[in-house]
Symmetry: C2
Subunit: 414 residues, 2 copies
């Protein structure tokens, strides 16, 4: 049973808000450069707070700089429905990544404010600090500290590449609040986001409902061959670490087809030594990023890959070591909420798809402490973290409408 | 007809000189770090000059820092026999590379000095400046300028990675001579050198006589794919520049087996962008070093490779451009001199092999202006430009004996 089934967001108002926000840190090629705790981030936050105050929300800023805007319900002792995302961007990133989740929620709140909708529970909009993790490591810092998964002191002490300290920068932009960043009971968490991949576009769908975020394993491979003169060393006398690495990179690339399911495997980083045109490479380091919803399959894939890499190394006269640099378990979203978002999408006439998210989101931390769910809308060309990142305004509207009815359904629960 | 057929160098004296020289810039693992125009280079030059003066040679230092030591003949109007190599080393390089050619010639001169051998022509020993080209580009700078193949002003203005200028550093070590670095008529040029490859060791030979130095072609490949999120981009939607590069590197590696003859092919350098563990590589640059005695084969190999690389790029959804960064013709040594060195080796009881040199040497420039030849001795394990570079003292002695009789035969010519 849906409440207020005819209620819809104002697509034009959402569009305008998105455009206004995209002006802050706008880049020539249509993206945004709005790094966490920068002057642009401050400007974006100021604008958001002005908008939240316009519809009478109670603003709370915690000592991680997370911004909450609360709209009371009938029964304010009940845990609220929380919804939002982040306003910081990747360097020369896209206009939709994060902003859509914050401004989509703003539009939901504007809509129910305008229609004087009274909900059972309070609704809280949130802008999490430093989701991208590009200026200050790690990513998802605001939601991670708030959820008690990251250490606040450590995050406050992080430095950017210029040596500037997180807590100083937070203070400088005026967003170190007095409320301690600490989880409070949440009835349901929603986050609307552009997909950042091509699954929806390729499948002709408008809404994606991820059942969770995939498990991620990062490995580093350190290969050792023998440096020698590129002119005098016959081909059969070489122990060329880069040739061994090239074979291995292709094996990593072929792994998902072999293992099946939704696995993706990437070598994104490579360093070669001594890296001289006329010297046979002596040692190579490269990274492996393996992701899959099925974590057992990641483990099996890694085992198979290791055997295969050993073969390559032997054949090429090289040795290698590996080191695990990250091993994140998958995050499962709440099934009831996901099913409800699918139903809402269908009843609103939006072709929808259950999927999994290959990217990390603040919702990953939230899922560990509360029922959580996400709504994806299509990314044109599957592109993200680039200035050309794009989503149609119709699809933004669709995402916001699904978010509206998802939030309402949870907020009406007694 | 050989002159003084029973004459031999003093193996122990040669050994001692090599050990003394190897103390200058000695590295813990048994190599030398004696970069061109460094304090160590100065010390090595000072020691050489002291030794040359001990046997009464006339010393000339030119304005490239090349050091010549002249022993008069009966007829000093005749062009001299020139022999030598270089005392500078690669960073953490080997003790034999270059030093053997200089100190082998020194031992030849000490031997004929001791025995009061009178030659028809003068004999000149030479230490060329900056053969390695590691601190200041390019390699073989001293011989290149002297032979009129490189521009002196340009070489003088080169800077090392710390911004220090060649001519300043040359002056600082006191080796900017007043004689202009300019070719003079040479009757024959000899250079004794460790092979720097495994051909002699694998063939069980003691002496190698290269008929020349292979042609070398360097290319740079610039590959362009599409950066995207490593977690959200399905395998079949990727344009991964590093995967394309990996396929190409293996194709370069397989090229010599396909083309046959003595071709070698190396990818020594690779740079990946943005080089982040969780981003699909957008662009990759890598180098190709192709060498072969048969220059037509290099051209054919490059054509075939280009077609094959185009296929890979197409398959991977990438584009690429190539740029030629070097195209050196092969240098042919003098056939008469080479045949004579083979005969001398055989008559001295040293198993010898005609071969080609895959490495560049000062002799490459000398071959363009005078009859030139080289004598190679085995490199244990085929290693060079590494601290563990090694040659047995017996093989050094053999090389110096072949050099002795090679120099004598030419120096006796009227």
């Amino acid at each position: 049973m849906r409440h207020l089934p005819d209620l819809r967001v104002n697509a034009e108002r959402l569009h305008n808000a998105m455009e206004k926000m995209a002006d802050i840190g706008a880049t020539p090629a249509g993206g945004v450069h709005r790094l966490a705790l920068s002057a642009e981030d401050k400007e974006a936050r100021d604008l958001l707070i002005a908008w939240l105050e316009d519809i009478g929300l109670e603003i709370i800023v915690d000592d991680m700089g997370n911004i909450f805007g609360k709209r009371p319900g009938k029964n304010n002792k009940l845990p609220p429905v929380l919804s939002g995302s982040h306003l910081d961007s990747a360097p020369n990133g896209g206009r939709f990544d994060g902003a859509l989740g914050v401004l989509g929620t703003l539009e939901v709140l504007r809509t129910i404010h305008e229609k004087n909708v009274e909900t059972e529970r309070p609704i809280v909009i949130v802008n999490w600090t430093n989701e991208e993790g590009c200026r200050f490591h790690p990513a998802m810092a605001g939601s991670g500290v708030w959820s008690d998964r990251l250490d606040k002191k450590k995050i406050h002490d992080q430095r950017d590449s210029q040596g500037r300290i997180f807590i100083d920068e937070l203070q400088k932009i005026g967003y170190k609040g007095t409320t301690p960043a600490k989880r409070f009971p949440v009835h349901a968490y929603f986050e609307c986001h552009n997909e950042q991949g091509p699954v929806l576009v390729n499948g002709g769908k408008v809404i994606g409902v991820p059942r969770g975020i995939v498990g991620v394993r990062w490995k580093k491979v350190f290969l050792k061959g023998t440096a020698n003169h590129a002119g005098t060393t016959p081909m059969n006398a070489r122990k060329d670490a880069l040739c061994a690495a090239a074979e291995m990179i292709l094996k990593v690339n072929e792994l998902p087809a072999k293992m099946g399911q939704d696995m993706v495997a990437t070598v994104g980083e490579i360093d070669n030594f001594p890296n001289a045109v006329n010297v046979i490479p002596e040692s190579v380091h490269f990274s492996i990023d393996l992701r899959c919803w099925n974590e057992d399959l990641i483990a099996r894939a890694w085992d198979q890959l290791t055997t295969s890499l050993e073969k390559t190394a032997r054949k090429r006269g090289c040795t290698f070591e590996t080191k695990e640099s990250m091993n994140l378990s998958r995050s499962s979203f709440n099934e009831t909420l996901c099913d409800r978002l699918m139903e809402i999408s269908q009843s609103l006439g939006y072709p929808a798809l259950k999927m999994v998210s290959g990217a990390g989101h603040d919702a990953a931390y939230l899922a560990q402490i509360a029922p959580a769910a996400m709504i994806f809308v299509p990314s044109i060309g599957g592109q993200s973290h680039v200035e050309s990142e794009n989503t149609t305004w119709e699809d933004c509207e669709a995402g916001a409408n699904v978010l509206l009815h998802g939030i309402l359904a949870s907020a009406m629960e007694k």
